[in-house]
Symmetry: C2
Subunit: 203 residues, 2 copies
């Protein structure tokens, strides 16, 4: 690996940064490839050379965001299981609040997300499992919680349960991606669930 950055990578990074800012401030649908080409002083043809269409560009930004998110997750320090769970919930909550408009792509394509996005979601999910699993094993070894046969399954169960926590609308319909005004309420409910869940694992 050379320490001199590849000029292609520098250009790509500039495109990703401009795209992120536009997606975040104007949303996916209101952002055009023309505007991004303008931001980075590049011909549209060259932009399309790097990213064949807007959705590919979106996926690349999403991948970068996900890498940052995973780094934050992995840098977490906590002294017990409940803190580990709370850290995971808070990190996710902050990530979604900060990038809320970026996710309008998810709302627009709720029923038909590209496979690449599902792959990124899968990677994040796996990293979350690893984090929680390590915390569960540590706590079980220390005798603070009951011995756990399958820490993976317990971590997965909690993540599923947290995922189920939604704010019900008047019509009972639940949407995959919550409204911005619902995030706080969901966050509170998840903290309560974690509190009960951790107590339930105790000796």
């Amino acid at each position: 690996m050379s320490i001199v950055a590849d000029p292609h990578d520098i250009k790509k990074d500039k495109i990703l940064e401009s795209a992120y800012n536009r997606f975040l401030h104007y949303g996916y649908s209101k952002t055009t490839m023309n505007e991004i080409a303008g931001d980075v002083s590049m011909s549209k043809a060259l932009l399309y050379y790097y990213f064949p269409d807007k959705s590919q560009l979106y996926i690349a930004v999403m991948r970068k965001l996900s890498t940052d998110y995973l780094k934050k997750l992995q840098a977490g320090v906590f002294s017990n299981l409940e803190e580990a769970f709370i850290f995971q919930i808070n990190t996710q909550h902050d990530f979604i609040v900060t990038n809320y408009n970026f996710f309008d792509f998810f709302r627009l394509n709720e029923q038909n997300l590209p496979d690449d996005i599902w792959q990124i979601i899968g990677e994040i999910h796996q990293a979350e499992i690893e984090l929680l699993k390590a915390a569960i094993i540590k706590e079980a070894d220390a005798g603070i919680i009951r011995p756990v046969e399958n820490p993976d399954a317990i971590a997965d169960l909690l993540l599923d349960a947290l995922h189920g926590v939604r704010v019900r609308s008047a019509s009972q319909k639940k949407v995959f991606f919550p409204g911005k005004d619902q995030l706080e309420e969901i966050h509170e409910k998840r903290l309560l669930l974690v509190n009960i869940f951790v107590r339930g694992l105790m000796n």
Copy 2:
């Protein structure tokens, strides 16, 4: 109220029964109004007089099933909180396993269920909350679990969490209505979640 049944009601009941059997054995999409009219020896015109279209007929059957389900729920007898939660999960599991093919309508219309169906789901949800709430209050009064400020919210939280328990497919996509082969695994996971959750509420 007369004890002599209204002939209209008798006819309606016969239609609902035939429709239920056909929806259950052949699914919603493969059932025609013609076949149902044939089953009950009725002209198609008369059938349409009672039910203006197939989806209205489906909703009426769904309403009847839901009434039966609620009766089963309300007849439940249990001696503690975990039993109450398990009873609720088992009753729902049996209901879905028994009527699995009937719900192909849900799969077909996953993203666009009629409001009437959402209303029925809402009624069932409310009845489930009431059942669990009563069990929580009883157990808290008896000092078996910690005092609970808002038993409604705790019941709702558990139902949300249970709802989140899904079987992940290889692609990470989660479907609203699970495959028949996934029901047992989901059921097992829900029982585990209830076990942890109830322990977490204990003193």
